[in-house]
Symmetry: C3
Subunit: 187 residues, 3 copies
Amino acid sequence: MIASLATFSSVIETLGIVAFAMSGVFAALGKKLDMFGVLVIAFVTSVGGGTVRDLLIGATPVAWLKDTHTLQIILVTTILTLLLRKRIGNFQRTLMVFDALGLGLFTVIGIQKGLAFGLNPGVCVALGTISGCFGGVVRDILLNHIPALFHAKELYATTCIAGGTVYFLLNGVLDQEAVQTIAALVI
Amino acid sequence: MIASLATFSSVIETLGIVAFAMSGVFAALGKKLDMFGVLVIAFVTSVGGGTVRDLLIGATPVAWLKDTHTLQIILVTTILTLLLRKRIGNFQRTLMVFDALGLGLFTVIGIQKGLAFGLNPGVCVALGTISGCFGGVVRDILLNHIPALFHAKELYATTCIAGGTVYFLLNGVLDQEAVQTIAALVI
Amino acid sequence: MIASLATFSSVIETLGIVAFAMSGVFAALGKKLDMFGVLVIAFVTSVGGGTVRDLLIGATPVAWLKDTHTLQIILVTTILTLLLRKRIGNFQRTLMVFDALGLGLFTVIGIQKGLAFGLNPGVCVALGTISGCFGGVVRDILLNHIPALFHAKELYATTCIAGGTVYFLLNGVLDQEAVQTIAALVI
């Protein structure tokens, strides 16, 4: 059960990294950056949220320094997204979808990590929200946008906080895995 | 005596959090952000300086993750400031006052924490200055201003460094509590 | 041998701090900041990369908090650069040279620290790149430039990654000190 939980968490984390890396690539393409710039933005968007989360709770060295998986996933995702971008179509909408997906997934992971560190549930929702939002905020600052977080008409971070709260309410009733799936999908 | 000192420190910290949260609310209102945006800016301005201070000295999990008081104070302050903002009047001047107040209070706390970690006094002044300034700098970056720190004609950070230095000079002569009160008021 | 290595590392670190502080001063002068603003930009550019590196690997308190040397070096460098700036001449070119120098030196130090913490070599190259680039990126964000990193036509961070990789390849063949010198010079 514990092994399966760990596996499940790492599947969610991988999905979140892929989703945010793709969102980073699409945002960078909108600004016509070169190959290296695209890779940096993909990287920052992907690991930004998790890095801040790990720094805040003191889980250092931060997750992506501990093995090369994260870096490899981001590299492969960036290259595949660049190659297949014509087929993926409309940038703006695609960016929104992957951004929302990454947001949901990272919020759930942030909450879980906070709970694992014995933090108060209310604080964990804040921590999860930061994990979810931070990658996108840094991406937008680097690309000189006003963070999407602020002009997306609440829909964005509000769902993130709401989702996190729902996560706790459900947590008492259902079992862990079901809750994770629901939370990630709903958000 | 130790208990009273701890209480006194936590009173100063609470005042600093309230002052910076109010400064964040006024800055965000100037940009006509929605309710959620205002809350985020208030939060970042409030905990930004202390978070960087705790990260730099390695005091993790950072202070505001350890209990829900800080989050509650920020939430209540934001709501009250929004409700009472018509009575508070002129935004720009009010923002300046609360910013200066938060700055002074956080500089003192930053210096104290640095000393408690056994750091060199000169380094502590730098750490205090960072604690004091960082919240406001991040607020200004997020709101796409040029940081007030740079165009306030030195008056700002210079007083902060000067206050910190005075703090040390006085420290040898007077007792702890008197010094704190004086330092916070003077700055 | 170990003592001489430590000395050599600290010489490289000092050179990197001086180079980045000078680059910060020249960038700030281009924006006509006052004396205090120039000092802050010099400080941030100098310690930014190393601070992020230390935070990510969990080496806290971060390096520049542990003694006053770093702060003193930055202060002296800033004052000397301001006094001698007429003799140094053309800002833009000088900025580029010191930026490149600091970049190379900090990349090497970042890689070494990563290895000392037992991290994977591929991850160390990423860590070194971040150490090298971050100070300049923060400087550019504070001065409201688009980070030089993105519009310098790859030449910048690409050489940094390439240099780091070369460092590892050489590492197996030559002895430590020779490699450091070569790597720093080549980059």
